[in-house]
């Protein structure tokens, strides 16, 4: 690295800042819709209607059984043949959200199932309607179980967002790649992008720790809290899986 200041120049350059902002935006929007899709699929899976069950299982099979990159390229290139033309950005976001939904569904479902049937029965025995039992007894308990793994999904999504470069969305990785190919300063350009990714993941982990504290509410802190490094390693090994 004969020109180390170049890393800093890239880091603060408008193109990199915009690319980083777009990466963050893709992550947030995709995860938001991914959570909604996940909630829907989880409820379909839990439903007593077997056609809805079958739809949910088919969905999971499709979106967990194919690579996320494949899904992005498919949405971008194939959907227009069926009259659905999305911008590059939205092609990427739709694909990532649909993909994320397949993983969030499992998280939401395990959260709902972790709340014992007896809790719901007790709520009903007190005269609550089904939705009241859901709202006041099941969901508050399920949320505490759902929130920590959702934080990991956030970090995973940040990294998955780089795949959207494949359909020419000018997010962080594509910006870095383009900058480098102009002068072959790959090391500096990619380092600048890498610093952004690390900055974001570290920030996320700090926020996640705060949210987990909140989810535990007024309760005593039990057990050892995961250190930042443990979180990062955990998150990386969990969400870095190839989709």
């Amino acid at each position: 690295m004969d020109k180390p200041w170049l890393v800093f120049e890239y880091f603060v350059s408008p193109r990199f800042v915009l690319g980083a902002a777009l990466t963050l935006w893709i992550t947030i929007v995709s995860l938001f819709f991914g959570i909604l899709v996940g909630l829907l699929i989880a409820l379909l899976q839990e439903s007593k209607n077997r056609y809805l069950n079958a739809f949910a299982v088919g969905y999971l099979w499709l979106f967990r059984g194919t690579p996320a990159l494949f899904q992005i390229i498919f949405v971008f290139n194939v959907l227009p043949q069926f009259g659905i033309t999305l911008s590059n950005f939205w092609s990427g976001v739709v694909a990532l959200a649909m993909n994320e939904g397949a993983y969030m569904a499992e998280i939401v479902r395990s959260g709902l199932q972790a709340v014992g049937l007896g809790q719901r029965t007790a709520a009903r025995a007190l005269g609550m309607k089904e939705w009241q039992a859901m709202r006041y007894v099941v969901l508050p308990q399920a949320l505490r179980i759902i929130i920590p793994p959702t934080g990991n999904q956030f970090i995973g999504m940040l990294k998955l967002s780089a795949l959207v470069s494949a359909v020419a969305v000018e997010e962080l990785l594509l910006v870095a790649n383009q900058a480098a190919s102009a002068n072959f300063r790959y090391l500096e350009a990619l380092s600048a992008a890498g610093l952004y990714y690390l900055l974001f993941t570290t920030l996320f982990m700090l926020i996640q720790a705060k949210i987990e504290d909140w989810a535990r509410g007024k309760r005593r802190r039990r057990g050892k809290k995961a250190s930042l490094i443990e979180r990062m390693i955990g998150a990386t090994s969990d969400s870095g899986r190839v989709r």
């Binding site: 007190l126 005269g127 006041y136």
Partner: protein, 248 residues
């Protein structure tokens, strides 16, 4: 028993789970202000009978009348009947994310719309009644089984029920905690709370019950005043069951 006093009238009740016929033509009355203890071997349908009384289980055939109203076909409106019937479970089922006090005020506030101040005041009185006022701000997993069950009783009482159902309330408790829970139930019964108690505690049945019902294979084999039941004028099968659990 004079029929005019019955708060619950069960007639020809049948309930099956798939091929398993759990309740067979069960008929009985629960008298206002009295305590009925239901005993019988496991799998005899005691708990299912209890859960039919507040419609936690749908009824296949027959009828259940509660407080002068036929509740058999309430269907999705069943929650209306449940508001007037308190239930206590073997595994307590306190809401794990709420403190003892929050457990008690939740239903009065959300179901009945009672103001928080009033609900909290009632809850504190009830915690006194079950003898653990000092545990108001503890979470369920910070309480012993006996304490949890007493909070669960307070939670049910907070809805001001006309009847209490206890489904093996001491079966999940360590022996030294059984008494503290039974004492609370006994106090309530003595104060005139209509109660149906499924239990294996024969001493409790003898002391507190007005009537004892013996069930086997989904059939009410015996339904007698307590003294008569224990004097041995009851059915042969009931006697054999008593022998088994009294002399094990």
């Amino acid at each position: 028993m004079s029929a005019a006093q019955a708060i619950v009238r069960v007639r020809g009740l049948n309930k099956s789970f798939g091929d398993l016929h759990v309740l067979k033509d069960v008929s009985l009355d629960v008298e206002q202000g009295k305590t009925m203890v239901v005993i019988g071997p496991s799998g005899s349908g005691k708990s299912t009978l209890l859960r039919c009384l507040n419609l936690l289980e749908a009824i296949d055939s027959g009828s259940v009348e509660f407080d002068g109203k036929d509740i058999t076909h309430l269907g999705r409106q069943a929650y209306r009947a449940r508001r007037d019937v308190g239930m206590v479970f073997q595994n307590f089922e306190l809401f794990a994310h709420l403190t003892a006090l929050e457990n008690i005020v939740l239903a009065p506030m959300q179901v009945k719309g009672i103001a928080k101040l009033d609900a909290v005041a009632t809850a504190r009185t009830l915690l006194e009644k079950v003898r653990i006022p000092e545990k108001a701000n503890f979470y369920p997993d910070e309480l012993s089984g006996g304490q949890q069950q007493r909070v669960a009783i307070a939670r049910a009482l907070a809805m001001k029920p006309k009847m209490m159902l206890y489904d093996e309330p001491t079966s999940a408790l360590d022996p030294e905690m059984i008494k503290e829970v039974l004492d609370v139930i006994q106090d309530l019964s003595r104060d005139g709370m209509t109660s149906v108690v499924v239990t294996h505690e024969m001493g409790f049945a003898r002391r507190v019950a007005d009537r004892v019902v013996f069930m086997e294979s989904g059939i009410v084999m015996d339904n007698s005043p307590t003294a008569e039941f224990f004097r041995g004028t009851s059915s042969e099968r009931a006697k054999r069951f008593l022998d088994q659990i009294l002399h094990h």
